[in-house]
Symmetry: C2
Subunit: 246 residues, 2 copies
DNA sequence: CGGCGTTAGCTAACGCTGTTCACTCACTCT
DNA sequence: AGAGTGAGTGAACAGCGTTAGCTAACGCCG
């Protein structure tokens, strides 16, 4: 008897397994926000689902792997959020889209502090993460970075902004940017890539400092400073006209 | 580190207690680097010192407080490192000193990754740290920030660099900077403070990204990029001439 | 000098953690 | 119908932070 059908499903067992796996990931996420990163215990996840802790080992070889999967899921969720903000911009000018994505990044970060801490706060992946290569988290992280990178490239292609010439970069930096460039699908001037990194560092630094409380020594509400930095970035990208807050 | 010294006052008991307390802090630090932040267990510290775990409760009300003390110690150590680098600059021009301190910051961070993660990651202080006010860690953190702040102020006082006028700041940002300024010993133009924050965000962002591995997607060795960002900061502070790497 | 209060340190214990093992039971396939 | 697979179980182990109750040494004061 072959009922063929839902194209994408395997055997019943495989479907059930996939369902449970999804439920585990969802529950883990929920426990994370409810109990903080330290409260993210296998037993807590299991209890929430009405099964016993060792059962989870049918799905993940260790807690660490489960957390890594969770990190990947969170990166994906964050990427979705950014893309949604980007695509909500009409008309779709990449400059405005970049600013929208940046604001969405900060918004997600401050409304999901615990999750953000897991992604960017060195908690999960060891602080000394030589761990060459792979893992779903690494992959999802690249998708996240790609959202910004693509927008930045698009901005430059549509309307080039001033970038340092290659002769203005130190030879060491040039070499670093070159080896990076070689790994990319499209080739961009090295100066563009240095500007991209510089902007990304500003964005990352600003949001990290806010979420981790390292701006509280100075600012009560970091949003105005964030907007100010965003304007500086926009100026650097020649999209200052797009910077008015929505 | 910044404890005052020789009299070593107090009864014998008090001295013994102070000694043990210092030993605990030193051992904690050592266990931290040896076993990572997760391996920083009370029992491990106690074992290393040849005593039992509950004994530590005579010195700290909880593990969390011990970690906070450790964080304070690390901030102090880092501050010492920065001040040493600053004071090693001859002749003592504040521009050069700032760059020296910035490089020392990065150097300490990448040679003390685990400790850095504890200070600047989301691990130690709760990610949602409303915890108003106090604690030795907060205090030591302010000393650390003060090193940079003082240098920056000195640079401006000696030779003012161009800063945005108050009318170029949004009213919200102006208000934020004003309430911060009110808490400071000396009053500086708001534009200076916004530039300081901007520079500090760059420095923090760059070093955090490197240590937490969020630059590995692009750069193999982030140092050239760090130097490039440092030059940008120097340019902004009118000390570009001081930016040549030592 | 003797006694007493203070206090550093101990062991034992509780409840929690991640993880392993041996087992049961339901489902799937031949 | 029987064999085999695999999800889920409870018990157990080592380790965690923390509390309680005890011991013994120390410092002070009469």
């Amino acid at each position: 008897m072959s009922d063929h059908m839902p194209p994408e499903a395997g055997t019943r067992r495989e479907r059930a397994r996939a369902d449970t796996l999804r439920e585990i990931r969802a529950t883990a996420r929920q426990v994370l926000v409810a109990s903080g990163p330290d409260g993210l215990a296998l037993r807590a996840i299991a209890r929430e689902m009405g099964l016993s802790a060792p059962a989870l080992y049918r799905y993940f070889p260790s807690r660490e792997d489960l957390v890594e999967q969770l990190v990947a899921d969170l990166y994906d969720e964050l990427s979705d959020h950014l893309e949604a903000a980007r695509d909500a911009v009409v008309p779709a000018r990449p400059g405005v889209q970049l600013l929208a994505a940046a604001r969405a990044f900060r918004h997600w970060a401050i409304t999901h502090r615990v999750e953000f801490g897991l992604l960017f706060g060195s908690a999960a992946q060891g602080v000394v993460p030589d761990e060459a290569g792979e893992g779903p988290a690494e992959l999802a992280g690249r998708r996240f970075g790609g959202v910004f990178a693509a927008l930045m490239a698009q901005i430059y292609v549509e309307q080039p902004f001033p970038v340092p010439g290659e002769d203005e970069l130190t030879p060491e930096l040039r070499r670093q940017l070159q080896t990076w460039c070689a790994k990319l699908p499209v080739a961009l001037p090295l100066g563009v890539m240095s500007v991209f990194l510089s902007c990304w560092i500003t964005l990352y630094g600003m949001v990290c400092m806010e979420v981790f409380g390292h701006l509280r020594f100075a600012l009560d509400d970091p949003e105005p400073m964030f907007e100010s930095e965003l304007r500086r970035v926009a100026r650097q990208l020649g999209i200052a006209d797009a910077a008015a807050p929505s």
